[in-house]
């Protein structure tokens, strides 16, 4: 390799981002790289903004950093997630289930949703996308089982993420890395020694100085560590998050329920032993948002939503909230944190010259966040009457050229415009557009070729197969309870 290989990495902050990053690096990097985690006060202050739901990408991500379901489920109150049900969403009070799902069928070379547009003209009752998505049918009945491999079984099309609490994951991650080779220091940063944009060392409050080849910043934006480039966030909105937890014996539901409120929204997330409520609102409407909690919220955080333009400058890399904070409206927040870590793993510097690594990291970061925020922005109208500060601010956020093409193409002809390596796939976008009432004006002319009788039969078959499958599955609660019993028994 090169003459001055990377030897020391310092992770600053032991919030969710810092702990995940530490778990990933200690699992995947060779032993001779020294990893220090500095547990700095307040690093988890904005963790609520990672939300409570992940996408199917979490399964592999966690496995890669050394956490399998038998580690995860019994120790972290985590449950399975088939998606989010949006209720009374937006000015039109729309409701739909945004589920995780593998590719919808392509029939005779035509994507499935075009057939629904075709049939919708005459038989609107047959054009409901949700009837044909196995994940949605399972979510509606609150049933769950791990999807099998056999593609003939409708359940094999289901994908799942997790419902989680940031503090429960922090606890689990802290236990895991305590057994790994990471040096953990509990102290605050007194002074950052810099030479231009290069970090030379951190003087800690315990009188030690930390030197490293690469400093990974897992604090908040505008922390003592932040560089000028990282302080420069794109967003303008300030949001307040509040959460409460209601313990329950039997928790039904395998889908997060997110209800639009005048003040913003409230999400109810079913976990193993209770239901978690998260509300998001503009600072001016806290009182009314807090009323959406059954008991007074126990945790409150406020953050400015936005993305910085260069997370990696010289030997200083900002990941997670130190580089970007998203509204926890979709699983984009946690998905993009995972992507930050994956991007870093692929680009662990090979020498002290990090020009190539930082440029490529920043390029991918920019694209990922551009695509992720487009998905979130897609959940709001572009104009219309807004009732409160939250909705007004959300609607006045700009629509990117890419999002504009996606919406225009879908509304015009049901075409799903896709860019390179997007965090959200075709199926996510089709569900989002249709959920938001963006019904294509035309459909693929090739969809016309299927005789109507065959089309009706095909639709009926898919629908019946899904319903019949859903009726055979155990409730999520029972499935999870039994799985936990099995994991625990195996562990003993």
């Amino acid at each position: 390799m090169t003459s001055d290989p990377l030897q020391k990495i310092a992770i600053c902050g032991a919030g969710l981002a810092g702990l995940m990053c530490a778990a990933a690096l200690s699992k995947i990097l060779p032993e001779d790289i020294e990893i220090t985690l500095i547990d700095i006060n307040g690093a988890s202050k904005t963790d609520m903004f990672y939300g409570t739901a992940t996408t199917p990408a979490s399964y592999k991500f966690l496995l890669d950093i050394g956490i399998s379901e038998p580690d995860l489920l019994p120790q972290s109150n985590t449950s399975f997630s088939l998606g989010t049900r949006y209720i009374d969403w937006g000015s039109k009070k729309r409701s739909w289930t945004q589920s995780f799902h593998q590719a919808l069928p392509v029939i005779d070379g035509v994507q499935f949703h075009h057939y629904l547009t075709r049939i919708g003209g005459r038989r609107p009752e047959l054009a409901k996308l949700e009837s044909y998505i196995m994940s949605v049918q399972a979510a509606k009945k609150s049933v769950f089982a791990h999807p099998p491999q056999d593609r003939k079984i409708p359940l094999s099309n289901v994908e799942y993420g997790y419902h989680f609490l940031p503090n429960a994951w922090r606890k689990l991650l802290a236990e895991i890395i305590a057994e790994r080779r990471i040096k953990i220091i509990k102290a605050d940063i007194g002074r950052v020694r810099r030479d231009n944009h290069h970090i030379l060392g951190l003087d800690l409050t315990d009188q030690t100085t930390i030197k490293a080849d690469l400093f990974i910043d897992c604090l908040q934006p505008s922390s003592i560590l932040s560089s000028e480039r990282q302080k420069n966030l794109t967003g303008r909105r300030q949001l307040v998050a509040a959460s409460s937890f209601a313990p329950e014996q039997t928790v039904e539901g395998v889908c997060r329920e997110l209800t639009g409120l005048d003040s913003g929204w409230a999400a109810k997330t079913p976990l193993q032993n209770g239901e978690h409520t998260l509300t998001i609102c503009a600072p001016s409407s806290e009182d009314s948002a807090f009323r959406a909690h059954e008991t007074a919220p126990t945790k409150i955080a406020s953050a400015r939503i936005g993305v910085c333009d260069k997370p990696w400058v010289n030997n200083h890399l900002a990941i997670g909230h130190s580089a970007a904070i998203l509204e926890p409206l979709t699983p984009a927040s946690i998905l993009l944190l995972q992507r930050d870590i994956e991007r870093l793993l692929e680009l662990i510097p090979v020498s002290s010259d990090m020009t190539v690594e930082s440029r490529e990291y920043n390029r991918r970061f920019k694209e990922d966040y551009e695509h992720g925020t487009a998905f979130q922005r897609g959940l709001f109208e572009s104009s219309g009457t807004a009732s409160s500060a939250y909705w007004k601010d959300a609607q006045s956020e700009p629509i990117s050229t890419k999002l504009d093409s996606k919406i225009t193409q879908f509304q015009s002809r049901g075409a799903v415009v896709q860019y390179d390596l997007e965090p959200f796939g075709k199926e996510d976008w089709v569900q989002l557009h249709i959920g938001m009432g963006r019904i294509p004006r035309r459909y693929d002319p090739l969809a016309e070729k299927m005789p109507e009788e065959r089309l009706l039969q095909t639709l009926e078959n898919i629908k019946t197969a899904n319903e019949s499958m859903a009726s055979k599955l155990p409730s999520h609660h029972i499935y999870l309870t039994k799985l936990l019993q099995y994991f625990r028994k195996k562990h003993d």
Binding site: P30, V350, E360, S405, S412, R413, Q418, L421, R442, P445
Partner: protein, 502 residues
């Protein structure tokens, strides 16, 4: 209002591929498709070598592989051999398949580089079944188990593109495409929209249509001569502007790969078909005269020439809008990129696929045009970068042309790719575009551009473990090749050889 008539102007490979693709998919929708071509106008017969994607095209048309191969005198193709590109005397094969297999999600070449840097040097090619099979002139179709070596590679064809056009003509005519013999001399346009409403042929016939596909070749009769769309000239990056082509008799059994040999002022292709070999010299006329180029070509033929050499003139680049108003340019009318990586037919195919996915109404939406052009621009740009890579990832400086490339400022998209590879073996990935990371590895490593460092995660495995895994892949690949029949025998037994040849 729906499209009722489509007029394809020009036969040849692009015209008949378009006719076949559209007639197959639009069949039964009450859309009339006409194709106008003139026997007086020769076709260029772009690229006789293809990429694996053509199999999807043929499959979607429901074409039987054996029948197609017999009709077009096709051979199988496992990749392209590049001679004299990195340095004079070098050779490597760009295969249709990966090198080795990723370990813990880390690309194979990092492990190979780790051993290389420790002095355990081996050919990267030895971990690629398609390369090893090609080198020994062997071929068989991939097996059913995609996890196994000898089953997870791609393959394409080398064929007679004139016969392919004929084959697709029969296919299209059987599906209702009307062929009209004639030469377009004039067209009429709607004064308000500028849409072409009809074209007039030499004999006075007028053909009206809602949508025109311009497959008229370099001239771009509708897209350029009528609509004045404009051309993005890329000859600054890819300056070769002429070619001379000739077919010759084959001397030995046909090989399952194409060859591209770098020359002082361009490069020479060799494409083996069942019954002959296609040869051509692509060159930059500032550095070699037409006569010299023709002489050079003729003097390197391995068998007697079957015809007089044919001269071609071109300017590398792309139409500013591949779809403009109600005209879609598919094939050479849309742009030209030298056939160094067999992309001509692929770009035709991409054009047809995108057109079908964005098939318009009669009142063509500007959003459909914009999305089509965005997709196709991306395709062209990415192919351009990949072609240019061959000229710049080299140590050659033995002629004016090679020195020209040494001093070139590259497009950022390419520069960053090369830097990331050279620095640490990292590949900038994309999803939409034809050449995937293994292709980039093939060319960069094949032209002696080896990274200075590799992904540090590759050090997480013990050295013994890495050696063992690499050895086992190499052994398995060799074993799989020893079980593979010769390409010529396989063609015959598979039933793909034309009768008069077999």
């Amino acid at each position: 209002m729906k499209i009722r008539n489509i007029c394809i102007l020009g036969g040849g490979t692009s015209g008949w591929m378009t006719a076949a693709g559209l007639s197959n998919k639009l069949n039964g929708l009450g859309i009339d498709i006409q194709l106008v071509e003139s026997d007086q106008i020769g076709t260029v017969g772009v690229g006789e070598a293809t990429l694996p994607h053509i199999r999807f095209f043929n499959n979607s048309l429901g074409i039987d592989e054996r029948e197609f191969m017999r009709a077009t005198r096709a051979t199988f193709k496992l990749g392209i051999e590049f001679c004299d590109w990195g340095r004079v005397g070098d050779a490597y094969i760009h295969p249709f398949g990966d090198y080795g297999e990723p370990i813990n999600d880390i690309d194979f070449h990092h492990f190979w580089l780790r051993l290389w840097q420790l002095g355990h040097k081996s050919r990267l090619d030895d971990y690629s079944y398609p390369i090893l099979a090609a080198e020994s002139g062997k071929f068989q179709l991939p097996g059913p188990d995609a996890m196994k070596i000898g089953s997870n590679f791609g393959y394409a064809y080398q064929f007679d593109s004139g016969r392919y056009a004929q084959f697709l003509r029969r296919y299209s005519e059987a599906r209702g495409v009307i062929r009209t013999e004639g030469k377009a001399v004039m067209s009429s346009a709607d004064p308000e929209t500028g849409f072409i409403t009809s074209i007039q042929l030499e004999d006075g016939t007028s053909i009206e249509a809602d949508l025109f596909i311009d497959c008229s070749g370099f001239r771009g009769v509708l897209i350029e001569q009528e609509l004045k769309t404009g051309y993005a000239d890329w000859s600054e990056w890819l300056p070769c502007n002429r070619a001379v082509a000739v077919q010759c008799e084959a001397a030995g059994p046909s090989l399952p790969y194409t060859r591209a040999t770098a020359r002082e002022a361009g490069w020479q292709w060799r494409i083996p078909l069942q019954h002959r070999i296609g040869n051509g010299y692509v060159y930059w006329n500032e550095h070699i005269s037409d006569d010299e180029a023709a002489h050079r070509l003729m003097s390197t033929l391995e068998g007697p020439a079957l015809a007089e050499p044919k001269q071609l003139y071109f300017k590398t680049g792309k139409r500013r809008k591949l779809w403009n108003k109600n005209v879609v340019a598919i094939g050479l009318s849309g742009g030209f990129l030298e056939p160094l990586e067999s992309t001509s037919i692929h770009l035709i195919q991409e054009g047809i696929t995108a057109l079908l996915e964005l098939f318009p109404d009669k009142a063509i939406h500007s959003s459909d045009i914009a999305e089509y052009n965005r997709r196709m621009d991306l395709n062209f740009d990415r192919v351009r970068d990949f072609l240019l890579l061959h000229y710049v990832a080299t140590q050659r400086d033995d002629s004016e042309m090679w020195r020209y490339f040494r001093n070139m400022t590259l497009p950022d998209s390419l520069q960053e790719k090369i830097e990331a590879w050279s620095h640490r073996g990292y590949l900038l990935r994309y999803e939409h575009g034809v050449f995937l990371p293994p292709s980039w590895v093939a060319v960069m490593a094949g032209q002696n551009l080896l990274p200075r460092a590799y992904d540090m995660r590759a050090n997480a495995l013990t050295l013994e473990d890495v050696k063992m895994r690499l050895d086992s892949i190499r052994r398995d690949s060799l074993a799989a090749v020893s079980q593979t029949p010769s390409h010529a025998d396989y063609l015959k037994h598979y039933g793909a050889a034309a009768k008069e040849i077999a």
